[in-house]
Symmetry: C2
Subunit: 254 residues, 2 copies
């Protein structure tokens, strides 16, 4: 990229045995990826780890020291396997205690619903000391932020709502723009010339996404850049290339 403002770089840490066992299909990774791209933040790495403290601590410490921001999902509910708050505390070397404001919100919420504020539910008020809360407009129990780490729920609707609350607080990079070109040819036909076009347009990222309908390949080409003029220059060359290759291979297919 030829930007003078480099985009912030982010990572995600998804926490949960249920994803690694296949019981739950993750839906948060794709959502975070799309939302960050629109916000001009580059998601550079994702890790999925089980509900095991050493695995969470090791992955979190690797990611938070490498990237500008880390977003976690999962493990902040009220059950015994919800160990994310304690693991985040361990990673930062911070004690995990009851967060007064979180505790008040949860107590008030259960009181208003005539439900007991059980010991299990009180677990959801615990954060590493000094954490700031991330509002949960859906089911009250908050996420929290410690330095550059945003700790959010695993339930997709709540993860998305928490993310909506977090994004406006981040310094985002210039948004990435993109143009998609549907190409009736397979990657094997266009791979060579497409690589040449990519080399001539280093200010863009040209992605090639094969589609396979069971019989033959086609390709969706996506040109991404923070510079619209760079996208347009590459687009003109890609479309000319598709026309040329189509004409050359047309005889064989006719």
């Amino acid at each position: 990229m030829s930007d003078t403002h480099p985009a912030p770089r982010a990572a995600m840490l998804a926490i949960g045995d249920e994803i690694l066992s296949g019981r739950t299909k993750d839906r948060n990774i794709g959502h975070l990826a799309s939302v960050l791209t629109l916000a001009g933040i580059d998601l550079k790495e994702v890790r999925i780890v089980p509900d095991e403290t050493p695995a969470i601590v090791e992955a979190l410490n690797a990611l938070r020291t490498t990237y500008d921001f880390v977003f976690t999902s999962g493990g902040i509910g009220p059950t015994h396997d919800d160990i994310t708050a304690d693991a985040i505390g361990a990673a930062f070397g911070l004690p995990v205690t009851v967060h007064r404001q979180a505790n008040e919100r949860l107590a008030a919420s259960y009181r208003s619903r005539d439900l007991p504020y059980t010991e299990a539910r009180q677990r959801m008020a615990r954060t590493p000391e000094g954490a700031s809360l991330i509002d949960n407009p859906i089911s009250v129990a908050p996420g929290f932020r410690v330095e550059n780490v945003f700790v959010m729920a695993g339930v997709p609707s709540i993860f998305a709502a928490m993310l909506d609350n977090v994004l406006p607080t981040l310094p985002s990079g210039p948004a990435i723009q993109s143009v998609a070109i549907t190409c009736p040819l397979g990657e094997g036909d266009i791979g060579g010339p497409l690589g040449e076009i990519q080399k001539r347009h280093p200010g863009t990222a040209i992605g090639s996404y094969p589609k396979f309908d069971g019989q033959r390949y086609s390709t969706e080409l996506v040109i991404r850049s923070r510079d619209p003029a760079a996208i347009e220059a590459a687009r003109v060359e890609v479309e000319a290339m598709i026309a040329t290759v189509s004409a050359a291979t047309g005889a064989a297919k006719a």
Copy 2:
């Protein structure tokens, strides 16, 4: 777990800018997770990295030296951004050359379809030296194995077909069995007693998966073990606990 035969431990490395940008929603992680669980192999970690050689090399070397097996997806097509074979070679310190058998298969396939065997397509015959091939029954271009690393396609139907060819060659652990119990109560109601049950049944893994219908929570509880008797003993206690808590909270809800 109380097994005398520990399950093999596996990791996955998904490679592709398109997943990290949100353009493509990954479908291979969930599939691999489900299939490995049924085969008695524990998936312990997943990483997603971009189409960048240093990122692939670093992640692969971390995973292949930690786990028994590593499964990769993506980046083995014919375009310039398909750099997985070269990155795997770099990680192992192996030269990447044309694999004779892969080359013959690809050449024959394109010849039979009256399509040119372009330079781009010939890229798909390259592997690190000494790799063994993984058959691709769908679109010919093979995956490959180097030591404990299985390199497979990113297109979900092809990833799954390659995995079907790989699994019978692996020494699998005893299959994990599981029982699911639908619980009408939320995690906040059952979290405390469920944690106690988990402590009394260390030979099982009791997972709690909240569901939220927009108004209230319910929970799916899953008891997993390689020992059916351990599952049954935990199941009896969980069902008794649900009945007890339901009776106690019934008055408040009625």
